[in-house]
Amino acid sequence: MSSSLVVLVAQRIALGILLVLAVSVLIFAGTQILPGDVAQAILGQSATPESLANLREQLGLNQPAYIRYFHWLGGVLTGDLGTAMSSGQDIATSIKERLWNTLFLAFWAAIVAIPLAITLGLIAVRYRNGWVDKLISGLALASTSFPEFFIGYLLVFYFAVQHQCFPAISTVYDGMSFGERLQAIALPAAALTLVVLAHMMRMTRAAILNVMQSAYVETAELKGLSASAVIRKHAFPNAIAPIINVVMLNLAYLVVGVVVVEVIFVYPGMGQYLVDHVTKRDVPVVQAVGLIFAAVYITLNIVADIAAIVANPRLRHPK
């Protein structure tokens, strides 16, 4: 590790922290300063002036916005996410288990999707312009055009209703065995995998093809290396950085996909929690969950950046 590399990585991390802070401002501003009055929105058109005033007082809406922001931020930094208006429960406590559930689901989807996508991407490159490549590209085009719920309900319709091998609703509870849990999340994880698979594969294929067009790949071919050796020894090491980038960007995409998939399978995770409370217009919950989603997304993006920096031989071995 050279010092310039350390500096670059440190810069990226600092940038990430700055970005999360800026996003917290944006999310706060988005829910507080927009034309709709939160209190009015919660109580609806039939609200009396007194009840409105009471609610405003209760929400602290009478204080200036920046004070409320710092109050909120201070809470977030110390692990206090506030209380939900609709249920009066502590948000941090309600989130803990759901966050774990969401990560569990996303983890298994990623474990299946990443190797599968990279393998398929490599196959598409190896047989490029052949029927395998065309088939893979066609399926990828189709599945990027599919809404998540189409994939989700197709899976439910086929595997849960017609063949009944997996549950249509992914109930998880404490004391469930690991195997039971896996079976419960099989369908949502499959749906998530399919959602990111096509993107990841297309981007992997493009990244490797880009490398395959380099002059050094021709050099390797002219040394007599076999097609798979060319890909393995010469294309792949240079494609690692773009591929890691692709993987991270798609994991970030998965963070969004999880919201819809959780709703489809009524899975008790963060996504469903967020959608529920958006419908209930429960602002503190929306702020907290939105910030967590954004922070995860930003972290994955920064990791992608850092991976690209570390994998670059010009930066690893400076002149």
């Binding site: 002059a215 050099t219 390797a220 002219l222 290396l225 010469h234 240079n238």
Partner: protein, 551 residues
């Protein structure tokens, strides 16, 4: 070499080679074009055959066919390629793989792109040798180090530990030659190995390659567009055009007694008669003590530069990459305001910044670029491109404008049928002519020509230079001619400024600048320009060695 019967016939025997490719123009149906039409050649063991021709002559395609390789959609559709007595096209993929990197090796034009940035040089140099199992790693490394020494690379013991980006372009080109020689092949294909290099670097690489070929007795196909270069290294030369054979003969015969008209044109392309004009009394444009920098003053690219241009004359600015010659043009045009010094035009000082210059100043100073492709808006027709300065500076409209555009098209020796064409429908030379017409349309006093011929084939470049000289006679326009090519300079300049690392190291009328005694850099530059003469390379290298011994 592999089996006994090879000893009788030639090493490489290509018979009636036919190569085709499928092209996919956007928005049109794909079609098949023929790149090489029935070309035959033979090459004896240990001999060097030069393949020469303009772009599109099919020389690289033929070179790669000796390895059974086609770039992109290129296919060998007819003929035989017989290497060591066997038709390699009949050996299947497996046979080709065994041959590539073992019997035939390749040296690419840009070694910087041809080395994998992720691996150390040594791993790449010995890769083919290890792959084909012709030596152990220790032997191969030893062989590679010996080759590095032979190719006079600095630190031959350790340079292999470096990554490609840590080594200069000229050195990489030599490492690539070592890579080709390492597996001790029968034949090496050199594909323009020195074209991307500066002249002073080119001569060293060329001589290293020549020595290595001589000492290892390897045969070679040497591909280039530069006849003077190929004359230094080849035993025989084959001239190609549009994928067809024009002439094939010994090196001496080709350059001294060419039999075909086309070959003759290539041989004599460098000679343009131009009578040097004496500097007038008052210069039209004076660059006075200009210092300029990029990156907010941190990287000085011009240091105290002063030159004058006289009305109707040509000042040539010569230098290698990084000498600051293009920056000088940017400073004069106002694209890069100087930090110190000034540019005086027609007796008045020009504003430093482009935005502060009046339209009249802009009109008087026009520019022609190196890459004509990107210097014209691809979505505008030739008529719009040439007509716009007429509209913009002189308010010409309609028929009057079209008439003038037609006249200008005549001046650049293109008919008015081109008025509705798009740039994509023109050849390289035609594009550059349109750019010339566009600058002439403004009726300028000075045209800055930034490497205007260096992207063109020699014959086309020749035509452009002649056109520029003719136009100078007619329009009385002055040129600031920026180039790295001394042959061009000799053809057209009235005065010359030699630049090196941001400074003018020699400046004056052409005859003076090109007459000894020379300063060290100008001497190096002049002695590095290949001459079309057998044995020039040895003489030039010898001259250099004596000089460095004298110092």
């Amino acid at each position: 070499m592999v089996d006994g019967k090879a000893k009788s016939g030639p090493l490489l025997d290509i018979r009636n080679l036919r190569i085709e490719a499928t092209v996919y123009p956007p928005g049109e149906a794909p079609r098949t074009i023929t790149l090489v039409h029935d070309v035959s050649l033979t090459l004896e063991k240990g001999k060097v055959l030069g393949l020469i021709g303009e772009s599109g002559a099919g020389k690289s395609t033929i070179g790669l066919s000796s390895m059974g390789y086609g770039r992109g959609g290129v296919r060998i559709t007819g003929g035989e390629v017989i290497l060591n007595g066997r038709d390699i096209l009949k050996g299947g993929k497996e046979g080709l793989r065994k041959l590539r990197g073992r019997d035939v090796c390749y040296v690419a034009q840009s070694a910087a792109a041809a080395f994998n940035p992720a691996h150390r040089l040594m791993d790449q140099v010995v890769e083919a040798t290890l792959l084909h199992g012709t030596a152990t790693r220790a032997e191969a490394v030893k062989r590679a180090v010996a080759l590095f020494k032979k190719l006079s690379l600095p630190n031959p013991e350790t340079i292999g530990q470096r990554f490609p980006h840590q080594v200069s372009g000229g050195q990489l080109q030599r490492v690539m030659t070592a890579m080709a020689l390492c597996s001790e092949p029968d034949l090496i294909v050199f594909d323009e190995p020195t074209t991307a290099l500066d002249v002073t670097t080119q001569i060293d690489v060329l001589s290293a390659i020549k020595d290595a070929i001589r000492d290892t007795h390897v045969a070679a196909l040497y591909i280039t567009h530069d006849l003077a270069v190929v004359a230094q290294v080849s035993d025989e030369i084959m001239v190609l055009r549009h994928g067809r054979l024009v002439e094939w003969g010994g090196t001496r015969q080709i350059i001294k007694e060419p039999r075909q008209e086309y070959t003759n044109a290539l041989v004599s392309v460098r000679e343009i008669e131009h009578q040097e004009q004496q500097p007038g009394t008052t210069p039209m444009l004076s660059v006075k003590n200009v210092t300029a920098a990029y990156g907010g003053g941190h990287i000085k690219v011009l240091k105290n530069v002063s030159v004058d241009i006289y009305p109707g004359q040509t000042l040539a600015v010569v230098g290698e990459s990084g000498s600051g010659k293009s920056t000088l043009a940017r400073t004069i045009t106002g694209l890069l305001p100087p930090e110190q010094g000034s540019v005086v035009f027609d007796g008045r000082t020009l504003a430093n910044r482009l935005a502060d210059r009046p339209k009249e100043d802009l009109r008087q100073l026009q520019m022609i670029y190196q890459m004509a492709d990107v210097a014209m808006n691809p979505r505008q027709t030739v008529g719009t491109i040439i007509g716009r300065p007429l509209e913009f500076y002189f308010g010409m409209k309609g028929r009057e404008r079209d008439k003038r555009v037609a006249e200008l098209l005549d001046e650049i020796e293109m008919g008015k049928g081109f008025i509705d064409r798009y740039p994509a429908e023109l050849s390289g030379g035609q594009k550059q002519r349109v750019c010339i017409a566009r600058s002439l349309a403004a009726k300028p006093k000075l045209i800055i020509c930034d490497e205007v011929t260096s992207a063109l084939d020699p014959l086309v470049a020749h035509g452009i230079l002649k056109l520029l000289l003719n136009l100078q006679q007619i329009e009385k326009v002055a040129y600031l001619f920026i180039t790295h090519d001394l042959a061009t300079v000799k053809s057209i300049a009235d005065s010359i400024a030699v630049m090196y690392r941001g400074e003018v190291v020699r400046y004056g009328p052409k005859s003076k600048v090109l007459t000894p005694p020379f300063d060290a850099y100008t001497d190096l530059l002049l002695s590095s320009v290949p001459e079309m003469e057998i044995g020039w390379l040895e003489k030039a290298i010898k001259g250099r060695r004596m000089e460095s011994a004298g110092n």
